[in-house]
Each structure stands twice: as C-alpha cells, then as structure tokens.
C-alpha cells in the first residue's frame, strides 16, 4: 500500500477507545491535583478524594435508577464484581445442594466461578439455551426453575454476537432466586433500570461503554441482600473494630481504591449521560446495520448472531471462508491498520452454540467514536481479504 491509512479501532467490546477528553482530564486532574487516599485521613486532599468517589457513586446510582447510592460498590472490573456476587452468595443465600441457572452466552468471568462451585460446593447448574440466531430463550426459564434455584446469572449483551437478552422478562420470571446481571457490554449503550427490571445485583465494568479507564468497575446490590466480602481490611470507617463493617459500600471496599479509575469512570458516565443513551445506541446501531448490510453483499463471509432487524449491539462475529481467524485479524491490522479481535472471546459456551468452537470468530465491535467511514474501510478490507 502506498499511503498509510489512519488506524481504525474496532475492538470496543474488549475496551473502548478513544476515551472522551473529559475522562482523560478527570484522571489527570486527580492524579496531579490531590493525594489519592479517600476516607482515611481528615485533611483536605483526603476529603476531596472522597468527594470524587462519592460523585461517581451518585452518578452511577442515578444512571442505573438506584435510589440509594450506598448500594453501589466499586471493584476493579466486572470480573471482580461477578466473583463477589457468585462466591459471596455461598454460605449466605447459596448452599451446597442448591441450583443455579445461567445462559449459554456467559463470559468466563461467570462460567469459571460457577463451574468451580459445581465441582467444590455441590452446586448444580442449568443452562438457558440459545436460539438459532443467538438469542437467549427466556421462555425456557420457568421450566428450569426449581425449588432450590437460588441464583440466576445472565449476560445482558453477548460479547460474541451482540445479542441482547430480555433481562426485564427474566426479572419478572425469576421467582425467589437472586438475579445477577453481567452488564459488561450493555452498560453505557442499553438502558438498565435495576428497579424496573427487578435486578438483585448488577455487575458492570468501567472501561467499555461507560468510557472510563481500565481498573474501574463495580456492582449494585439490592437493599437487604448480603454477600460475604471476598476481601477484608481497612475501610477508613469503624477503625476501632477488628471486624469488617457490615454496611455498604464499606463492607465490599477494603483497601485503598483505584481513585484514578473511579474519577475517570465518573467523567465517562457524565459523558454518556450528557450525550444520551438513545443517541449513543442509535449511532452504534447505524454503524452496525451499515456493516451488516455491506457484509450481506459479500461472498465467502459468514456472520453469526441475531439476524434481520433484531435489536443488537454493534458487536459482529464473522468468519471468512478459507481463512483462519488469526490470519484475517493479522491482515486487517498489518495491511489495513484495522484492529479487531480473533478467537474465542472468553466465552467458549457461546461458540459451542454457534458451532464456532475451538477456532472462534473474527469480531468487529464499533463504539460511539467510530464513523461510517471506519465501517466502509472495514468492508473494503474484508472484501479484499476474502478475495485473496
């Protein structure tokens, strides 16, 4: 190639890029402007730092329609939040012999903890099946629920196919079980209302569509629901006591937090709120449709996931006939400066249901900062690669 094209980032499902200017500014203002240990000392820096964290917590509570922001706890990503939820329920609501329901589209951050409990704590697992075009079959849920079903874990948006699970319907049908939603891919794109959707625990990550830095994330926990904390230690509160505080958010936040990440996450949520979820979603879905329409015209490309006009996220998995996934991704990067992800995307179950297990797929994922020109360049590149 004679001219060097500008790099195109189409791997937003892994982590979003670029970040809004205000996120970068917020991180840098906090890093350069104050000491970073909140709630530990009584000086002004510590207090300012506590305010940064408080403001992000309040913003997230508003964002997910949770009336009491103390029910939001920070973690370093959704993986940690999901681990707190799954392991923290053991001995509280979940006991040996109990039953858990999840879906075939879960990320390893759900499946690995659950499989571990299956093996070590006598927990049995049922899997909600997925339809031909990759959608979780919520209608099957009532048949899977047992008397001892204590937990239902659902990935809101598949990081492999972009399929959206009807979590509101699951919230209605969940019975007494704790309903844990993995909002890694959905938060910041699809509306989430913990009250209306009857969600008991919502796990989110800061660095994807909430547009914050890596190392930020957290969860919402319904009032009255208690979990065993995975870590205990200093919280800045109740310092005279040698037992972990039993109130949120402190009980799940031992140790000096990632103040920088939380500051950036607050700015990210601010950006999303100001821009509007509907506007963000409309833009991403327009790019997605453009890409899918272009792919339809091409020979030798198989696309996985929801077909036709179904609601979906701008995460598109595909295969190029006769080419390995890694070779396609490598050529996209090397020859076209297009960054995507190839392989299993940490969700082997999703690939089993699509018949792409072992080798995986090439995944394009568009974000709010991608343009129609980016999509056109991706289509051109794929057309060339699939012909050669």
């Amino acid at each position: 190639m004679s001219t060097k094209p500008a790099p195109i980032y189409a791997d937003n499902a892994a982590t979003s890029f670029p970040k809004p200017r205000e996120v970068i500014d917020a991180v840098s203002a906090v890093l350069g402007g104050m000491s970073l240990s909140p709630g530990r000392s009584a000086h002004r820096y510590s207090l300012e730092c506590s305010r940064v964290i408080f403001d992000t917590r309040e913003a997230l509570a508003d964002f997910f329609n949770c009336p009491d922001s103390s029910r939001i706890a920070f973690t370093c990503n959704v993986t940690e939040a999901l681990n707190v939820g799954i392991f923290g329920l053991l001995g509280e609501k979940l006991h040996p012999g109990d039953h858990v329901i999840t879906t075939a589209l879960e990320h390893n951050s759900v499946m690995r903890p659950l499989r571990y409990l299956e093996k070590t704590a006598d927990i049995s697992i049922s899997i909600l099946p997925v339809s031909g075009d990759g959608e979780v079959m919520v209608s099957e849920l009532p048949r899977l629920i047992r008397d001892n079903t204590r937990l239902i874990v659902v990935n809101h948006v598949s990081n492999v196919t972009g399929a959206v699970a009807d979590i509101e319907a699951i919230g209605r049908a969940k019975g007494d079980a704790v309903f844990l939603v993995d909002a890694a891919q959905s938060a910041g794109v699809f509306p989430i209302d913990v009250a209306r959707m009857n969600i008991d625990m919502l796990a989110f990550t800061g660095h994807k569509s909430l547009l914050g830095p890596t190392g930020s994330g957290g969860f919402y926990l319904r009032p009255g629901l208690g979990l065993r904390p995975l870590k205990m230690g200093g919280t800045g509160s109740n310092s005279e006591a040698e037992i972990q505080p039993d109130f949120m958010p402190d009980c799940y936040e031992a140790g000096t937090p990632n103040t920088l990440g939380i500051a950036g996450l607050g700015a990210g949520v601010g950006f999303v709120t100001r821009t509007g979820l509907a506007a963000i979603r409309a833009h991403e879905q327009r790019l997605c449709r453009l890409f899918l329409d272009g792919l339809e015209q091409m020979k030798g490309i198989t696309v996985y996931g929801p077909a036709g006009g179904r609601e979906r996220a701008a995460v598109i998995s595909l295969k190029v006939k006769g080419k390995s996934e890694s070779a396609v991704a490598q050529s996209l990067d090397r020859d076209f400066h297009i960054m995507v992800r190839a392989g299993l995307h940490c969700a082997p179950g999703a690939h089993r249901t699509m018949g792409t297990f072992a080798e995986g797929t090439v995944r394009f994922s568009f974000g709010y900062f991608n343009t129609e020109a980016d999509v056109a360049a991706c289509l051109t590149a794929l057309a060339i690669i699939s012909k050669n």
């Binding site: 310092s239 958010p249 402190d250």
Partner: protein
C-alpha cells in the same frame, strides 16, 4: 471564639453576640460516604454546615462528621432519616472541645463507643 461553622458562623456572627455563639450539633455517621451524602442533602436544602474531622473527644475513629446549628437539628434529622441515613451519634458542642450526647427521639441515637 469560633466553633468552626465556616460561612454560616460568619453570617450568624453578624446577628448574634460573638460571646454567645449559636450552639452547634455534630452528627456522626457510619462512613465518609454517608457524611458526603448528608453534606449534599444539607447543601441542597440551604442549611449551613461544616464537614469536620470526628472530634477526638467523641471518638478515636479517623472519620469525618457534620456540624450544623442546633436550631436546624429537627430539619437535619428529618432529612437524614428520609434519605435512610443511620446515625452513629449525635452531640451538642458545649465547649471548644467538649460534647454532650443528645438523643434524637425515634432515631435511637447511641454515642459511638
């Protein structure tokens, strides 16, 4: 003599004799999150206040507390209760470094330790 009520104190100083400053109350909450929540509520409702380190005379805990004019205590307690904030303690400042626990009726306030 100043009891550290910031701008509010300043305002009141103009109306009250500086020798008899308006009495203030100190509310102790369970963690910094609730202190900042209380601060936000008081700010929103135009109630003068200060966020202060928990006085050592009240507790050896390293946290912060909220100080406000006792005149406003009924309103403050109402606001905190409506927001579901549990009190860890409520005190009246009776001297520069001396505090007396007060009870807040239905809120069943206990002194910290």
């Amino acid at each position: 003599m100043s009891y550290g009520l910031g701008h509010h104190q300043q305002k009141l100083k103009n109306m009250w004799s500086p020798i008899q400053p308006t009495p203030t109350c100190v509310v102790i909450l369970f963690s910094i999150h609730f202190v900042l929540k209380a601060e936000k509520l008081l700010k929103k409702n135009g109630i003068g206040h200060d966020v202060i380190p928990v006085p050592r005379e009240i507790s050896s805990d390293c946290g912060m507390a909220v100080e406000f004019p006792c005149l406003e205590s009924e309103k403050v307690l109402e606001l905190l209760a409506a927001a579901g904030l549990r009190l860890a303690g409520l005190y009246m400042r009776v001297g520069k470094d001396s505090f007396q626990p007060i009870s807040a009726g239905h809120l069943a306030v206990n002194a910290v330790n």
